[in-house]
């Protein structure tokens, strides 16, 4: 399991990719609820997609992408629409991160999942259906090609090709600057926090 978690500025991520096809893959599938019975995220890396992987474990003709030996050291994930929908459990990106995923590229993301990833320094980038299909095809070749994700230029190259990706300007800046870990800047706005609270009717007996 990976332990070198994101820290500080994130500019490039280089490595192999896991391909997970399908729309609307929800966070219950990424990490089933029984694994949420914990007071620490530490053990979640082993449990990522636990039920989907178990379902395929007895099947000689199919293997879950997270169990393919060649994907063992992959740090990118290529998937389709509305990835991470459903429950707000941060355990889902935590499990992906602890397994080794450092960036997700998909057609679209569920909003809470996207925010949870950002708070961990895991970039979630979007691309159109055509790009994702091409990335998924090339990433599945043997031997597995190495991709290089460039956050400053919002593109990824691999297998001699290059694709453009999408990310909001704000999120891009947060990742490039290391300010994705934003607790400090929230706390530092002391005066503005006090002022906002003082102007809220419901905190001031509706005066």
């Amino acid at each position: 399991m990976a332990t070198n978690f994101p820290n500080g500025a994130i500019q490039t991520i280089t490595g192999r990719a896991v391909v997970l096809s399908g729309n609307d893959i929800d966070t219950d599938r990424i990490i089933p609820a029984r694994f949420l019975k914990c007071v620490s995220f530490d053990g979640l890396g082993d449990q990522v997609f636990a039920d989907d992987r178990k379902e395929l474990s007895g099947n000689k003709n199919a293997i879950h992408p997270f169990d393919i030996p060649e994907n063992k050291d992959a740090n990118l994930l290529f998937t389709n629409q509305n990835f991470g929908c459903g429950s707000s459990r941060e355990h889902a990106p935590q499990a992906l991160m602890r397994w080794g995923i450092r960036a997700v590229i998909a057609e679209s993301f569920a909003e809470i999942f996207f925010g949870n990833c950002l708070a961990l320094g895991i970039p979630c980038l979007r691309a159109n259906h055509q790009t994702i299909s091409e990335l998924q095809t090339i990433a599945s070749e043997s031997p597995r090609p190495i991709f290089s994700l460039d956050l400053a230029n919002l593109c990824i190259h691999g297998g001699g090709r290059n694709w453009n990706l999408e990310l909001g300007k704000g999120e891009q800046k947060m990742l490039l600057s290391g300010r994705w870990n934003g607790t400090a800047q929230l706390i530092n706005n002391q005066e503005a926090l006090v002022k906002t609270a003082a102007a809220l009717p419901y905190l001031n007996n509706f005066n």
């Binding site: 399908g22 729309n23 609307d24 929800d26 219950d28 599938r29 089933p32 609820a33 029984r34 949420l36 019975k37 914990c38 007071v39 620490s40 039920d51 989907d52 379902e55 629409q81 509305n82 929908c85 459903g86 429950s87 707000s88 459990r89 941060e90 355990h91 679209s108 993301f109 569920a110 909003e111 809470i112 925010g115 949870n116 708070a119 961990l120 909001g168 300007k169 704000g170 800046k173 947060m174 600057s177 300010r179 934003g182 607790t183 800047q185 929230l186 706390i187 706005n189 503005a192 926090l193 906002t196 609270a197 102007a199 809220l200 009717p201 419901y202 905190l203 007996n205 509706f206 005066n207």
Partner: protein, 468 residues
Amino acid sequence: MSAGTLYDKVWQLHRVAELADGATQLFIGLHLIHEVTSPQAFAGIRELGLKVRHPERTVATVDHIVPTSSQARPFADPLAEEMLATLERNCKEFGITLHGLGSGRQGIVHVIAPELGLTQPGMTVACGDSHTSTHGAFGAIAFGIGTSQVRDVLASQSLAMAKLKVRRIWVDGALQSGVYAKDLVLHIIRQMGVQEGVGYAHEFAGPGIAALSMEERMTICNMAIEGGARCGYVNPDATTYAYLKDRPYAPTGEAWDRALLWWNRLASDADAQYDSEVVINASAIAPTVTWGITPGQGIGVDELIPELEEISESERPLAEDAYRYMDLKPGSAIAGTAVDVCFIGSCTNGRLSDLRAAAAVAKGGKVSAGIKAFVVPGSEQVARQAEAEGLDQLFRAAGFEWREPGCSMCLAMNPDRLEGQQISASSSNRNFKGRQGSATGRTLLMSPAMVAAAALNGCVTDVRTLLN
């Protein structure tokens, strides 16, 4: 961009600062916490040497992991016990009110905050749970967050957020007898899909919404997230105020009068501008049941499970996965589908009016042989009110189990779960693969009254045939 909407007004009031990278720092008026998504957040603020900035605006309860058969401590499951003990320790250390087991106020977080009057119009409400959208029923801007964000709210009572677009979902007409708020929201998600709401706050409006009670509005807003919208809301009106009056945390005396004046100004203006508008006709909706593995895969109880060619091309792989997983045949009727387990409860449908609607169907009947049917009140208050009305006796006489409050089989983080390929008729909110605790378990979402009907007949049944 939207203008003059309740969302805009509440956003402006809670704006603390614009952050370096373009996000807005938003003040959170009410922070609700529970045992599952808070332990690591408390560990995080301890690590940073911080305190909880507004413990008086932070309220805790325990719901996800509690058993519903026996709530005696310590729990049989040591992990569940550890989670509750951790929450108790954290609340004590940081001075946070915990509405714990046996307090008379414990229950599912999205049931207790409204019933205590904690949730009020014009607030921002955050909680580490995606169904926080429920609180939007009061004209609050309420949304689910992850644990790192729970840490940020504990530390700063604020969040870095990007402003959402606003879509108005205008509901014309009125629901017919035997058709409930749950059917309306399942119908909306069926029409719009599970992704359409991403990036939007959904304002539910129109005569079909104005006619709903607060509990019904909560059911609608609860499932906004199932349509992809992190936040759903209804403009506050006389129904909202009548519900709130005299609740424990509601303002009193002159403050109540001042509150009313303020709340009235919050509603979206008549000439408000929306980024998107959708119209739904409530009067044409039948009791709705899901047949697949997302809440968008729903049909009227009188319809057939769609054939592949009736489904748009991009949705077909998901539909094929659903046929396989659910072991249901395209082109066959959903009515008559045999069920094994019937679950009435959850933050979607665990309130008093939900139990009354189910009881009206169950009254004098008998749960079909071999069916496990159980009712889990959403809170201790709901349980005591239902018992005062004799609903517990009515359900028991009909063969239902009557349980203690908690999230129960909605998400199976407690002993209530499906086994093997069991199929449930469930008044909860998600029919995802494995959601109810078995990796091969199957869920049919429907209204509480429809669940009661399924329990009596042993199969999916149009509740209207039992009510007439």
